[in-house]
Symmetry: C2
Subunit: 365 residues, 2 copies
């Protein structure tokens, strides 16, 4: 058995649910899941309760994270219709600005052009700005960012027209980057019912929705335009997913790299493709600080069956339940210390660092 030693995985898109919904996940369980999945830095989305749109809410999230996070993290600020100045002032204390421009989970949502333009103009040009945008909204976000002279990152691209547009925009030299989730790379609106263990109704709800086989194949066809693989880890509990209004979202941190290693085995990806999109590009796009002596070890041939019961995420289920995957992270080392090893998370709550408070990098680095 030869283990692969790789740079650690970084995830620019996770929902850790704290503050406000710690019955789904919190900074402790979410970062334990991250380490078990091979991630040492995760960027947490702001659609919590309260949403992270001002200093008091950011402080709530920071306090919880400081006490409980087991891996390093960043906290996004959420864009609202009236917090442009507040957001820009808080920028140094965050990992980026998140704008919800289309249907999603939670109350953060902006529909109008004026707010989009105002945030794009005020948020510091060197800080990441990520958008949940679908369809034509992707085009709008790219243009408004271009006119503001700044880059924009498109979250969880899921459809053919969107990836074609983004690819064309990149070819025209526009400053746009994007991420794609494993579930949009491997599932369609039809597959949940055809899996060995079908994904039941409420569990299939996710935003953006699972798309068509044509959409899925287009993502693979435009692999060169995909900068990042992000999980959009979005845990909800089983009672919530089986209730009358199942909230959208899949957990993803503990299965992502194994799914992608499956594509290595089938010849669709190389390990370098994975490292590029789960480490190198994410570090560059989001300006993430270096973590010295930090790496993961992967057993590329280890076959294992997904059992949510054995996972660290609090949500208690996985869309991949019962699937046998090949390849798994067996060890995650953070700053020289084993943080996760063969099913056991050893990094303690409170040892994770906020990337906004890392020491300023030595300019010689």
């Amino acid at each position: 058995m030869t283990l692969l030693k790789l740079p650690p995985l970084l995830d620019p898109h996770v929902h850790l649910r704290e503050p406000g919904a710690t019955h789904k996940e919190d900074w402790d369980t979410g970062t334990a899941a991250a380490l078990a999945g091979g991630y040492t830095q995760v960027l947490a989305m702001p659609n919590t309760q309260p949403p992270i749109t001002d200093a008091p809410a950011l402080a709530l999230s920071q306090t919880a994270a400081r006490a409980k996070a087991r891996c390093d993290y960043g906290i996004y600020l959420g864009a609202g219709a009236d917090n442009m100045e507040t957001a820009a002032a808080l920028a140094p204390h965050t990992c980026g600005l998140k704008m919800y421009l289309d249907q999603t989970f939670g109350s953060l949502r902006m529909d109008d052009l004026a707010s989009l333009m105002a945030h794009m103009a005020r948020w510091p040009a060197h800080k990441p700005l990520a958008v949940h945008a679908e369809g034509r909204t992707v085009a709008a976000a790219i243009l408004v960012a271009h006119l503001a002279g700044r880059a924009v990152h498109i979250c969880h691209v899921s459809r053919k027209d969107e990836i074609e547009l983004i690819h064309a925009a990149k070819e025209r030299g526009l400053q746009v980057t994007c991420e794609v989730t494993p579930h949009h790379l491997f599932l369609t609106a039809d597959t949940p019912s055809t899996l060995a263990r079908p994904i039941r109704e409420g569990f299939r709800e996710v935003r953006p929705r699972l798309a068509t086989e044509g959409d899925r194949l287009a993502l693979w066809a435009h692999l060169s335009a995909i900068d990042c693989f992000a999980t959009d880890h979005a845990p909800h509990t089983i009672p919530e997913k089986t209730g009358p209004n199942p909230p959208p979202g899949f957990p993803g941190l503990e299965t992502a790299v194994a799914l992608l290693l499956g594509a290595v085995h089938s010849g669709r990806l190389t390990v370098e493709d994975i490292t590029l999109r789960m480490h190198t590009n994410i570090r560059r796009i989001f300006g993430l600080p270096d973590q010295p002596d930090t790496f993961i070890e992967i057993d590329p041939d280890l076959e294992w069956t997904v059992r949510a019961q054995e996972m660290f995420s609090r949500c208690g289920w996985s869309p991949w339940e019962g699937q046998t995957l090949r390849g798994r992270v067996v060890r995650t080392v953070l700053r020289g210390k084993v943080a996760y090893e063969y099913g056991k998370v050893s990094a303690q709550p409170g040892t994770g660092k906020d990337i906004a408070q890392y020491p300023i990098p030595n300019t010689k680095d």
Copy 2:
């Protein structure tokens, strides 16, 4: 009394309602209204019944126009979710493609990014492409056009964020042009009730809606970014406007230049501003053919009171009813013949020409 002799007015945006709703307007009454307003070329929108989305519908409109039009005209083709190839093939027989990307009157409406991209890519780059787009959709249309390497014309811009975006896009060198209507320059959502003759409920319905005073002032502040003044002449009958679901739209051909001359009297515009935006720019943007010996004469000081009863439009009302305006077209001369003079239209039905069938211009011109 000194009459001003000016180039004829051209309108890139009128609804003449034929085929399908000749109780509102037809090619005869609509072009009579045009001549009375000083227009010698009007471009007719395709949201008729049937909508002009294929060859048979285009032929219906052409046949009616050929028999009845009193001034020259072009006919837009309407973009649908499945007529990209048909539309591109019919391009030479039209004045342009119209895409309805937001809420409007009629059934023509496209919501998805894929159709927008497909039409933008297939419609000939040298032919006009006009969009009804509001808010973020304006940004989407500009980006998709840019990626397709073509120009786009934004119809009836009505809001501050939209005109700011368009102005910024022009400054960045993007190929975008726009038009603004007199009603958005002179009315807001509040003014209908404050006019000497208030505009009653259903009569106020128009798309884009009348906006705020801040929006209106922003249009004036960005006058340099406004390429065209277009009427969006959109007649509906009085029973329709007073009914339970009043359709949106104002008639405009017979009042537009008088309203704008009012702005000349108040010092906000010059006559050159008007000629630039009602003739020169429209001819350039839409590639309209020259009309020899064609001009209008305006009495800039003539005071007159708007009376829909005296107008040529079949709709029978005007949002400006009872208002006293200063300045009026007194004579319209088309190809050397008086077509309109002091309240009388003398051009006969069938004398108007389709701009798509003008002789090919002498390249020495």
